[in-house]
Amino acid sequence: MKQPESSQTNTGGRVQAARAPAFTINLSGRGPIAYLFLLPSLVFLALFTLWPIISVIWTSFHTRRGRSEVFVGLQNYERVLSDPISQQVIKNTIGYVTIGLILSVIGGLLLAILMNQGLRNIGFFRFPFLATIALPMVSVASIWLFLYSPRVGLFNEILGGLGLPRSNWLSDRELALPGLFMVYMWKQLGYFALFYLAALQSLPNDVLEAAILDGTAFWQKLRHIIWPLVSPTTYFVATIAVLNSLQQVDHIFVLTEGGPNNASNLSLYYVYQQGFKWFKTGIASAMTVFLLAVLLTMAMLQFVYLERRVHYE
């Protein structure tokens, strides 16, 4: 069993052999050892990445009747698409993700340009933006819960001090979702800026010189020089911005629980509600499959984009 396997690798793996000739010549029986090395990872990949994808697709076509799962075809998907609450959730999510994408790119780039100024020991100035990335979202949300508090919160103190009407931030239909969004951006903007910062630092120095703030000329340079040069990073930041905004739900638990009246409910929180609060696994699975479809599309787009660029390893 072992011998034919390794000899097949020798004949079939010519490309591999060209890259690493030493291994194909002097080591027999490395196939089985490779599988042994991979085994722990493969077991857990199969159980917690591959299997859940298959399983969630299966449950999305079924519904629970008593103790058994009954096949219902596309019924769960139809319900997700026709139910007013899930429609609201999808609308919220699209808005949240889109605005998040735009602000992550623009805000991230501008912050990175600021962070990339000449001073060597600038670490101190960068700390605020790095600190928020590393903080637990639950802590961040607790911090903002206090800032948003109607009676004693900082925002209302400032508004009151300016003689403006106070708001009931998180219980307001209009303000709850933007409120969540602010928390998310406060935490994540530095993360997106980091990628732009790395991109800026790999540019030649004279281009960087051009990036120093200087009135109208700055915008010209930003548009015509920096923006085109960092476009691969922009593509990348856009991708992770979408992934990030779809995945982060911890602040919803602490701040609004999706309310008021689902005004701040997002797709993953909806999956939690349906699956774990109301035990509607079919509905939750259908929504999960929608999410998976979005993620896979994103991955494909990124793959196509990378293929089009120079392929290297």
Binding site: G118, V138, S142, Y191, V249, F253, L292, M298
Partner: protein, 277 residues
Amino acid sequence: MTARKNKWRETLPIVALALFGLVWMVPLIWTLLTAFVPTTQLLNGSPLVWLQSLHLGAFAEAWEVAPFPRFYLNTIIWVFGLLAIQLVTVSLAGFALARMDFRGKDQIFFLFLTQLMVPGTVLILPNYQTLVRLGWLDSYQGLMAPYIASAFGTFLMRQAFKQVPKELEEAARSDGANWLQVLWHVFLPVTRAPLLAFSIVSITYHWNEFLWPLLITSSVETRPLTVGLALLVQSSEIGAQWDLLGAGTLIVAVPILVLIALVQKQFTNSFLSSGIK
């Protein structure tokens, strides 16, 4: 261009960054104040009053109200226990993918890639059902299970191992070392930087993790800090004990803040590599 204008051009961005950073810090500073200054003084007094009434009472109380020592222990066990397991799995898998030839390599590579494309948070429902079947609910191994295989770590190590010169390895092989010895004595000592990068990302990510632990832990013996804090927030909402909340927030966040203050540069680099995949 005049010297004056040059100077202006140099200092303006720094000032802008500093101001922006200061504004960015306001929520953090406010949290510090709520934790160390009694709420009534904070709302009615001036900064001078705040300084005079600094106290640690809220920390003592938070420590009493919620079993934070136990939550700390739980977080440390699951985060560092997981890291220890991951370092083994990603080193082994990364090594196999970087340095060995075998059948099905492309398929296995693609399986790892799938994990990068589909983050675990999205799969909470089916993964929860798997844990139920395994009987791993409310356990440390349940907390760790979805993360034991790490595509990010595996690819990071694969990339690092590929750069190790072949001669080093051949020398060890000709001395009769087996693969594990080669990995341990030749490869791991020269790939400490990526191992550290992976560790920083893994620790921060899991220290902060909330949704998965919330779903699968149900006892004080397994609950991590983040879930403990969320429970505290929910309970203190009724009494609006903001100083307690501030203290609890800091109790959870301070170790991570200290970590990045200490290793800011590595931290930055690690997080860049976490995005690069």
